[in-house]
């Protein structure tokens, strides 16, 4: 500094020297924006940062400013990174800004991350809490701002995809003071509305700060407590809001949320058509199968020739009749004598017997009157037993008559249709005595 004391310099040189020293001071500064000029024609934007006691003039080249993606407004708290410099023409100290971010955002992000950790620790975000969405919601709730694009995006999407559903809308404030309470009330109204099966929580894009109500703890709890599944469509990629993390399904935009909440009419029409085809096919299959079974039964011998039912009895009857015929002529003469003699004797003893039996009959009649009902009941029971036995077509008895039962190879399933096996299949044939292992040579599905 001895030079300064001894040699004089011009103003420009003085400022050049000052500037070169200032430009070694690189800093990140937080301050509130005042007096900003962002006229499009200018090469730079000019603004001042201040705190309680000081003011710092700043400039930011236009392309850097455009790249930072947000608009400066007086009163904003911002964080700027850059370097000090001097504007020689005015002899003015200024700060040249290279990077500009809203100062509040970093703090907000930290708070949001802390809340996310807390709710996650409580299990509010766990996959096991996520409820599946109904396949065909009859009523869909929508909680969003009644203004702006989001509400129309959802209405339009649902009208196109799934007009079958009724849309129940809670149009509420989604940003600024009061938005948290409004969102909670909207979720409560929509979630509790009778018949609503799924609720869409939507908003269009906005700044991180605008999104804050969707990061509120009470809103997250209202989402978690909603009696029906909640789909979020909060347009703020790539940031996930807390509401997104707690929701049952997270979609990136209101439109995507509407798509997630409802099926598409085209898919449904295909499903209805498939059901229509299957319905007809299933019934005709069921009828065909029964017709086939009926035909099998109709072709059994018993239905083809009714005589076979009676043949054994008929033969027995015939042979009895024959014996009777043979026995009669010789017997008749003897019987006549016998009858004549017996008739006399009978007439004699008949009176005696009648007397004797009259007494016994009286006793018997009394007994019968007394025991009759019990007897009838016993007889009934015996009749029931024997008819049950008759009905009980024991497979062994059937086998004894010469029928056979055909099982599949494992022996566990009785084959009823030739269609159940193919040529070359092994089957087992159970006879009255013993079992055969057979191989199918041909199948004839028709009887």
């Amino acid at each position: 500094m001895t030079e300064a004391a001894t040699t004089s310099v011009g103003v420009s040189e003085a400022l050049r020297r000052a500037k070169s020293v200032l430009e070694t001071i690189t800093l990140t500064i937080v301050g509130e924006v005042s007096e900003c000029t962002t006229k499009p024609g200018y090469k730079a934007v000019y603004f001042s940062l201040s705190d309680d006691t000081s003011v710092l003039p700043c400039l930011m080249w236009r392309d850097s400013y455009d790249a930072c993606g947000f608009e400066l407004r007086p009163g904003m708290l911002v964080e700027v990174a850059g370097v000090f410099t001097a504007y020689a023409a005015k002899g003015r100290l200024q700060f040249q800004v290279r990077r500009l971010t809203p100062a509040g955002e970093g703090v907000l992000r930290m708070q949001v991350a802390a809340l996310a950790r807390k709710l996650e620790a409580e299990g509010l975000m766990s996959a096991s809490r996520k409820r599946p969405l109904p396949a065909f919601p009859a009523k869909i709730g929508l909680v969003t701002s009644p203004r702006g694009k989001a509400v129309h995006d959802v209405i339009r999407t649902l009208r196109r995809r799934y007009p079958v559903a009724e849309l129940v809308i809670a149009g509420v404030q989604v940003e600024g003071d009061g938005a948290v309470a409004a969102l909670i009330e909207g979720l409560r109204l929509a979630g509790a509305h009778p018949g609503v099966e799924v609720v869409i929580l939507a908003r269009g894009g906005g700044s991180y700060e605008d999104l804050m109500p969707f990061n509120a703890e009470q809103v997250a709890r209202a989402v978690a407590q909603c009696p029906v599944p909640v789909v979020t469509g909060i347009g703020h990629e790539p940031d996930d809001s807390i509401a997104d993390m707690v929701a049952d399904v997270r979609a990136s935009t209101p439109t995507a949320a509407a798509e997630a909440a409802a099926p598409s009419v085209i898919e449904i029409a295909a499903r209805v058509d498939a059901a229509a085809r299957l319905l007809g096919k299933a019934l005709s299959h069921s009828v065909t199968e029964r017709t086939h079974r009926l035909r099998l039964i109709a072709h059994r011998p018993v239905f083809r020739d009714a005589n076979c039912l009676m043949s054994a009895r008929m033969q027995a009857l015939d042979s009895t009749a024959e014996s009777l015929d043979r026995a009669l002529p010789a017997g008749i003469a003897r019987a006549e004598q016998l009858v004549l003699r017996s008739a006399e004797g009978l007439a004699r003893i008949a009176e005696r017997i009648a007397e004797r039996h009259q007494l016994a009959l009286d006793v018997a009649a009394r007994n019968l009157a007394h025991q009759g009902p019990a007897f009838i009941e016993r007889a009934d029971r015996r009749w029931a037993l024997s008819s049950a036995r008759l009905d009980d077509l024991s497979p062994l008895a059937v086998l004894g008559r010469g029928f056979a039962v055909c099982y599949d190879h494992g022996g566990g399933r009785v084959l009823r249709s030739a269609a159940e096996v193919a040529s070359g299949d092994r089957v087992r044939v159970r006879l009255a005595e013993g079992t055969l292992g057979c191989t199918v040579e041909n199948t004839y599905p028709e009887v």
């Binding site: 009644p146 809308i169 909207g186 449904i268 059901a275």
Partner: protein
Amino acid sequence: METIESAGAPEDLTFGAALAELEEIVKALESGQLELEDSLGRYERGVSLLRACRTKLADAQQRVTMLVGEIEEDDAE
């Protein structure tokens, strides 16, 4: 096979309920476990459900109910 109680006239069911019942009926019929009379009954029910589903799809007009707030017209429309 569990029997499905017909929940009511197909036209009175929601679309989802009608389609779900229809698909149940198809499944039951395909199982081949039903009595013939039951099959026919269910088939008839299935046809009326099918008709109801198709009518609902064809006639669907989006209904919008406002619980709170009033929608502003979309400038884009």
